[in-house]
C-alpha cells in the first residue's frame, strides 16, 4: 500500500516515534564521546555511528511528521517528555564508561537491525523503501560493535571484567527495548510491521548470545513481562527530563527562529 488506512495511522506513528526516538537519543548520548573516546581511530568511528543514528532518526521523523502534519525538528525538539517513546536503555548516561557505551550499542544495534529488517518488508511502501536502505547501514553498526565486544572481551582480565559487569548491569534494562508500542498487533496483522519467526525476543537473544559467547562473555536475558510499562508508553527515567532540558536548551531560546 502507498496510502495508509486511517485506523493504522496512530499505531504506525507510535511505532515510528519509538524507532526514531531510540535512534535520536542513542545518537545524542554516543556523541558525548566525540573528541574524548579512548582511541582516536575509535573516536572517529563512534562519531560516524552517532551521525548515522541521528540521520536515521531524521528520515523516520520525516515519515511520522508527514502523517501527523508536523516537522522532523518539531518532533525532535518540541514534545513533552512523556510524548517521547524511546526505551530507558538509551536515556541513561554512560558516565564516560566505555564498557557501558559499547554494551548499550551492542543491545541497541542488534535490536535495530531486526526491527529495520522487519520494516523493510512492510506493506506500507514508503516505509519499506526507507527501512531497506537503513538496514544496510545498521548492519555495519552491528559488525562494528560486535568487533569491539570481541576485542574487549578477549583483551585482558581487566577489560573482560569491565565488559562483563557492563553487560550484567544493562541486561535488565535492555529488554525494555522490546516493550510493544500501542496498537502493534494491528500493524502486524496488516503487514505494516511484519512478524518474524522465531519471534523478536528469541531472535535478538540468540544473536546477542552468539556474539557474547564468541567474546568470552556471559549473557542472561529474561523475557520482558507482558504487563511492564515503560518508555514505549511515555514513562521515562528521572534522568530523561534533564537530558531533554539540555538537548533543547538553545532551541527553546527562540523556538520559532531559524538557526
Amino acid at each position: 500500500m502507498d496510502k495508509l488506512p486511517n485506523e493504522l495511522k496512530q499505531p504506525l506513528v507510535e511505532l515510528l516515534l519509538s524507532v526514531a526516538d531510540d535512534k535520536f537519543i542513542l545518537g545524542h548520548r554516543n556523541a558525548d564521546w566525540t573528541g574524548l573516546a579512548p582511541i582516536l581511530e575509535e573516536d572517529i568511528a563512534f562519531s560516524s555511528l552517532s551521525q548515522d543514528e541521528i540521520s536515521h532518526a531524521i528520515a523516520i521523523y520525516q515519515i511520522a511528521a508527514g502523517l501527523v502534519g508536523s516537522t522532523a525538528d518539531k518532533l525532535a525538539y518540541a514534545r513533552k517528555p512523556d510524548e517521547y517513546l524511546c526505551a530507558e536503555l538509551v536515556e541513561l548516561s554512560d558516565e564516560f564508561n566505555w564498557a557501558i557505551a559499547v554494551c548499550r550499542n551492542f543491545f541497541c544495534d542488534h535490536h535495530d537491525y531486526l526491527r529495520l529488517g522487519r520494516l523493510a518488508h512492510s506493506s506500507y511502501v514508503p516505509l519499506a523503501q526507507l527501512a531497506g536502505r537503513l538496514v544496510a547501514e545498521e548492519q555495519i553498526h552491528v559488525q562494528h560493535v560486535d568487533m569491539l565486544l570481541k576485542r574487549l572481551g578477549h583483551g585482558d582480565t581487566e577489560s573482560r571484567e569491565r565488559m562483563q559487569s557492563a553487560l550484567d548491569r544493562l541486561a535488565p534494562l535492555a529488554t525494555g527495548l522490546l516493550e510493544p508500542t500501542q496498537g502493534i498487533e494491528l500493524l502486524e496483522a496488516k503487514g505494516v510491521y511484519p512478524r518474524i519467526e522465531p519471534a523478536m525476543f528469541e531472535r535478538w537473544t540468540e544473536d546477542l548470545r552468539h556474539v557474547a559467547e564468541a567474546s568470552e562473555l556471559k549473557l542472561q536475558l529474561q523475557a520482558p513481562r507482558a504487563e511492564a510499562i515503560g518508555g514505549r508508553r511515555g514513562r521515562h527515567s528521572d534522568a530523561f527530563a534533564s537530558l531533554l532540558d539540555e538537548l533543547t536548551e538553545v532551541y527553546r531560546l527562540e523556538p520559532e527562529a531559524a538557526w
Partner: protein
C-alpha cells in the same frame, strides 16, 4: 625507515651538519622539492617539523573540545548532525597529524602524555570560552577562517607528508568555514536576541583571532632557518593582515560592529568600545585595525588564560578513562604510570 623513539628531540643550533648533505638538501628546498620521511634531513629540520606537526595535532584535538561541548545542545537536527561531523573532522585532523609526527620519531602515546602534563602546548585560541551557541558559530566562521589562512601557507611548505596532510585538511576546513558562514548569516538575519548573541560572541572572538597568528613579527624569536627550509612560509603580521582584510569588511557587511574589549579572567567581556581604527586604506587596499592586548596574549601563552586548566584537565580525563581500552586493544604502553 622511521627513526626510533630514542632520537633526541631537542633543537640544537650548535650542531655542524655535514655540508656534503646540507648543501644539496637546501638546494632541493629552494627548487621547491618536497622532503620525504626517508630522506636525509638536518637534525633541526626534523625537530622543528616535528614540533610544528605535534603542536598542530594537539591543537586539533584540544580544538575539538569547545565545540564538542555544544553537540548536546545544537538547536536543530541538521545543525546537530553537522556539528558532530565537524568535531569528528577535527579529531581526524589530529589523528593524521599525529601520524606525521610519529614518522618523525615520537610515539603517539608520548605525545598525548606530553599534552596532558603540559610539556607541549596547543593553540592559544582554544583557551577561550564558548559560553553560547553563537560562540560555536563564531568559531566555525572566524577561527576556522583564520586556520584556513594559516594552513594555506603551510600547504606550501617543504615536508611532503605534512604538505599533503595540510591539503586534505584544508578541503575539510573549507566546509567548516562554509557552514560557519551559513550560521552567522542565519543568526544575523534572525531575531534581535539572535543578533545580540552573535555580536557578543563576535566581541569575544575578534581579539583572540587577531592573536591567532602569533606575536608581532618584531617581537617574535628569530625563526630564519625555518623560513629558509620552508617549514614556515609566511610571517605572523602578513597573515594577520590578510585575516583583517578578509573578515573586517565581511563582519561590517553582516551588521556586526568591531569592538576593542576588556575581559575578565574568565574571558568574558566587561567593557567595550568601537574600534575607530577600522577602515580601508584606499591607497594600499589594506584595512587598518587596533592591535589586541598583547599582554593578555603572553599571559594566556604562559598557561594563565581563562580555560587552560580546564581544557588540559578534560584531555587528561579522556586519556585516563581510556587507558584500560588502549591496554586491551593496542597493548600496554612502555611509559611509566601517570602521576
Amino acid at each position: 625507515m622511521s627513526v626510533s623513539a630514542s632520537v633526541d628531540l631537542k633543537l640544537d643550533w650548535d650542531i655542524q651538519e655535514d655540508p656534503v648533505k646540507l648543501v644539496p638538501f637546501e638546494e632541493r628546498i629552494t627548487k621547491g622539492e618536497l622532503v620525504e620521511p626517508d630522506d636525509w634531513m638536518p637534525h633541526n629540520y626534523r625537530v622543528g617539523m616535528l614540533r610544528m606537526a605535534e603542536h598542530h595535532a594537539n591543537s586539533e584535538i584540544v580544538g575539538a573540545l569547545p565545540e564538542g561541548e555544544w553537540i548536546t545542545r545544537a538547536p536543530t537536527l541538521r545543525r546537530k548532525l553537522a556539528l558532530i561531523a565537524k568535531v569528528q573532522d577535527e579529531v581526524g585532523h589530529g589523528q593524521m597529524l599525529y601520524r606525521v609526527s610519529q614518522d618523525l620519531g615520537k610515539p603517539r602515546d608520548q605525545m598525548l602524555r606530553d599534552l596532558i602534563t603540559g610539556k607541549t602546548k596547543y593553540h592559544n585560541v582554544f583557551n577561550y570560552p564558548a559560553p553560547t551557541w553563537a560562540d560555536v558559530v563564531m568559531i566555525q566562521w572566524l577561527v576556522d577562517g583564520a586556520a584556513i589562512m594559516n594552513q594555506a601557507t603551510l600547504a606550501d611548505g617543504s615536508y611532503g607528508p605534512y604538505v599533503r596532510t595540510m591539503k586534505r585538511i584544508n578541503m575539510e576546513e573549507a566546509f567548516h568555514f562554509k557552514s560557519g558562514e551559513d550560521m552567522v548569516l542565519t543568526m544575523m538575519s534572525g531575531t534581535p536576541k539572535q543578533k545580540q548573541m552573535a555580536q557578543e560572541a563576535f566581541d569575544r572572538w575578534w581579539a583572540p583571532c587577531l592573536m591567532f597568528f602569533g606575536p608581532l613579527d618584531k617581537e617574535s624569536v628569530k625563526t630564519s632557518p625555518f623560513m629558509r627550509w620552508r617549514i614556515k612560509t609566511a610571517t605572523n603580521d602578513d597573515l594577520r593582515q590578510r585575516f583583517v582584510d578578509r573578515f573586517a569588511p565581511a563582519a561590517l557587511d553582516l551588521g556586526l560592529k568591531i569592538h576593542i574589549t576588556v575581559k575578565d579572567q574568565d574571558g568574558m567581556v566587561t567593557e567595550k568600545r568601537e574600534d575607530t581604527e577600522i577602515r580601508r586604506n584606499e591607497k594600499t587596499g589594506y584595512w587598518h585595525f587596533s592591535q589586541p592586548d598583547w599582554n593578555e596574549f603572553h599571559r594566556v601563552v604562559k598557561g594563565n588564560g581563562p580555560l587552560n586548566k580546564k581544557r588540559v584537565a578534560l584531555r587528561r580525563f579522556s586519556y585516563e578513562q581510556g587507558q584500560w581500552v588502549r591496554r586491551a586493544i593496542v597493548g600496554g604502553s612502555d611509559l611509566p604510570p601517570l602521576c
